[in-house]
């Protein structure tokens, strides 16, 4: 059973993700990005893909940062050099902040990078005290979470990263998202298994399938995997069953998806379902939820307005910061009070 305040937090995050995500293509599957990340600690590592903006905000990234990126502003973390949610946050070793490595477009690559982050954190923990940063000792063992699409599980990079994490018993939890399509390619042309979590059978790690549009179920399963990873029991994979409810990107009208499929999944919208659950359980009233909706919409709009007025990058800086030494200042990712801030832990 989840505490009420957890559910409330979830819904706020979820709405935020909905509002921004609606513009940017995670429609229909925002729920799982939020619910999976919510199973982490504030100081864990996330490696989201393009549709996992919700995970970023769950870890406390201020929406402004995402608007800056989308608008290629010079104030953004990549200073207009990289796209959308491609942000990276590597806090000082002792800080009470998450490690964030945004997507790189080469699908699959992030899995072994995620494994390396968790492995590196484990190695740091074994350093002599003199080598560690103040505060570092107080942090719980780091768990890395990476998201991967059905299509991306076909890459060699996915395989090598997963296998490495499994052999090295690395605290990595991978969220494999079966959203039925990779661009226009249906999952049946991507893999000959019926359940995406069976990808993990080759690695000898625990794996489970969950209804990706049932946020509480997603949270439960993920939490279990996170807890065991943190306890030193190694990597795991959670398969989420969901649906990409828009085209791959704005230009894609999704005509390759049968109408009946879209209609069917419309019924399963994670937002509506979660709302129903909250109301049923009396965790929130319809009115409260409408308020949250309005509030987050206004918040997002405000953030977008702020970003709009920020300056574009200066062309004179184009070759700066390719190598160390010429360190061209990189703005730190702004973090806001996150769900973790209040209660220390998310559970």
């Amino acid at each position: 059973m989840l505490a009420r305040h957890v559910e409330e937090r979830l819904v706020i995050l979820f709405r935020q993700s909905k509002v921004i995500g609606g513009l940017y293509r995670s429609l229909g599957q925002e729920g799982e990005s939020v619910a999976t990340a919510y199973a982490l600690e504030r100081t864990d590592a996330i490696l989201p893909l393009i549709r996992n903006m919700g995970a970023l905000m769950t870890m406390g990234v201020r929406p402004l940062e995402i608007f800056r990126q989308y608008m290629a502003k010079g104030t953004g973390n990549s200073r207009g050099r990289d796209l959308n949610i491609h942000i990276v946050h590597l806090p000082p070793a002792g800080a009470n902040e998450p490690v964030i490595v945004g997507p790189i477009s080469m699908l699959g690559d992030s899995i072994s990078v995620a494994a390396g982050i968790a492995m590196g954190a484990r190695m740091r923990a074994a350093l002599p005290a003199s080598r560690r940063a103040p505060g570092e000792d107080k942090k719980p063992p780091l768990v890395a979470m990476a998201w991967i699409g059905d299509g991306a599980t076909s890459t060699g990079a996915f395989h090598e990263g997963m296998n490495f994490a499994a052999v090295q018993r690395i605290p990595l939890v991978v969220i494999a998202e079966d959203n039925k399509y990779a661009y226009s390619t249906p999952i049946a042309r991507q893999m000959a298994i019926a359940r995406i979590d069976e990808r993990a059978a080759a690695y000898g790690i625990p794996h489970e399938m969950v209804d990706g549009n049932d946020m509480l179920a997603v949270y439960d399963v993920t939490k279990r995997m996170v807890v065991r990873a943190r306890a030193g029991e190694g990597a795991a994979l959670v398969g989420v069953d969901t649906m990409r409810m828009q085209g791959h990107a704005q230009h894609d009208d999704m005509r390759y998806v049968p109408k009946a499929v879209v209609d069917e999944w419309q019924q399963k919208d994670p937002l509506l379902r979660f709302r129903r659950v909250l109301v049923e359980r009396r965790a929130a009233t319809d009115k409260e939820l409408d308020d949250v909706d309005r509030m987050t919409k206004a918040y997002a709009a405000g953030e977008a307005d702020l970003a709009v007025n920020e300056p574009m990058p200066d062309p004179a800086t184009v070759t700066r910061g390719v190598y160390a030494g010429d360190d061209f200042a990189v703005p730190r990712v702004e973090l806001v009070k996150s769900p973790f801030a209040e209660d220390g832990s998310s559970a």
Binding site: M106, G151, Y256, P313
Partner: protein, 324 residues
């Protein structure tokens, strides 16, 4: 003759080669029902069916590897890499397997690997690549990059009919921006042949792909300044048409090498080296290179504009060169 886009020219080449030769087939991510991320393969599946227009998993290694295998059996695969940047993922299969196969055991690999290359469309660091220099040091591969619709069609047909692995880089900036006359009847542009796009006597700009248009625009401006510029479009990057290159240098004695890939380690080095080695006596001035800045490709329009070679940069360099 019909005026068609660069993109349509590629599509027509695929269509006609598939119609003419049952052994030709297409594979790649989303090339079938969707017709490709840029719609280059649109309509192919309707005409040729799923067996010859294969939607693959996201597996660049398997795409190229299985194409090699199929080519061993006498087929003629054309692989699409959704953005050419992802060719890095099958670099091993191309350089170690495909490129060496004929040399090692006489087993030719008649495959084409094609994909949208280049910048200028806000693609950012992972969707703007000009990869030719990655492959130039691997004997056994061929490489082409067309700058016109005519060449796009003719080079692709030549590539498909060629008995060696050909990397075909299509510049995505040109897809719908460039249109020209293309004959109705079958033709090829032979691999390994450059083309003088504009004859001139004061200076040679040696280039290819989208930069041909930049060079031509620069030549127009330079004309106003009294400089008569020759523009040589290489078209083939491997093998290079050394004769045409050297002939142009012999004529103008001044060479500006222009490419869109970043400067250091780019194909411009090879071109400048050929000139410095084989046409030294003709040279009246240094061999100048204009290329993208030495950084990853940035996303924001003002940064990308500063990053890429521009008409202004070419004109300025050309002026320095003729004033030398």
């Amino acid at each position: 003759m019909a005026v068609i886009t660069y993109l349509e020219a590629i599509r027509q080449a695929l269509f006609e080669e598939m119609a003419a030769d049952d052994r030709v087939f297409v594979m790649g991510e989303d090339v079938g029902a969707y017709g490709g991320a840029f719609k280059v393969t649109e309509g192919l599946i309707d005409r040729f069916g799923e067996a010859r227009v294969i939607d693959t998993p996201i597996s660049e290694i398997a795409i190229v590897g299985s194409a090699i295998g199929a080519s061993y059996m006498g087929m003629r695969p054309v692989c699409e890499i959704q953005f050419i940047d992802f060719i890095a993922c099958c670099f091993d299969m191309l350089t170690n397997f495909a490129a060496t196969s004929r040399y090692r055991n006489g087993a030719g690999v008649p495959i084409v690997v094609r994909g949208p290359s280049g910048g200028g469309v806000g693609g950012g660091p992972f969707h703007s690549l000009n990869p030719e220099a990655f492959f130039l040091n691997t004997p056994g591969l061929k490489m082409v990059e067309p700058s016109t619709a005519y060449d796009a069609k003719g080079l692709l047909k030549a590539a498909i009919r060629d008995d060696d692995p050909v990397l075909y880089f299509e510049h995505k900036f040109l897809y719908r921006r460039i249109k020209d006359d293309v004959p109705e009847e079958d033709y090829v542009v032979p691999l390994g042949t450059a083309k003088v796009r504009r004859a001139g006597k004061d200076l040679s700009i040696v280039t290819f792909g989208a930069m041909v248009h930049t060079a031509l625009d620069a030549a127009t401006q330079l004309e106003a300044a009294g400089v008569d510029t020759e523009v040589l479009d290489l078209r083939s990057l491997a093998p290079l048409d050394r004769e045409s290159l050297l002939a142009s240098v012999a004529k103008t004695s001044r060479v500006l090498v222009l490419h869109e890939a970043t400067r250091t380690g780019g194909i411009g080095g090879e071109l400048a080296a050929i000139v410095a080695e084989e046409a030294f006596e003709y040279l009246d001035a240094p061999v100048v290179r204009v290329a993208s800045e030495d950084s990853p490709a940035p996303y924001a329009p003002p940064l990308e504009a500063a990053f890429l070679p521009s008409v202004d940069k070419v004109v300025a360099a050309a002026k320095r060169l003729v004033d030398y």
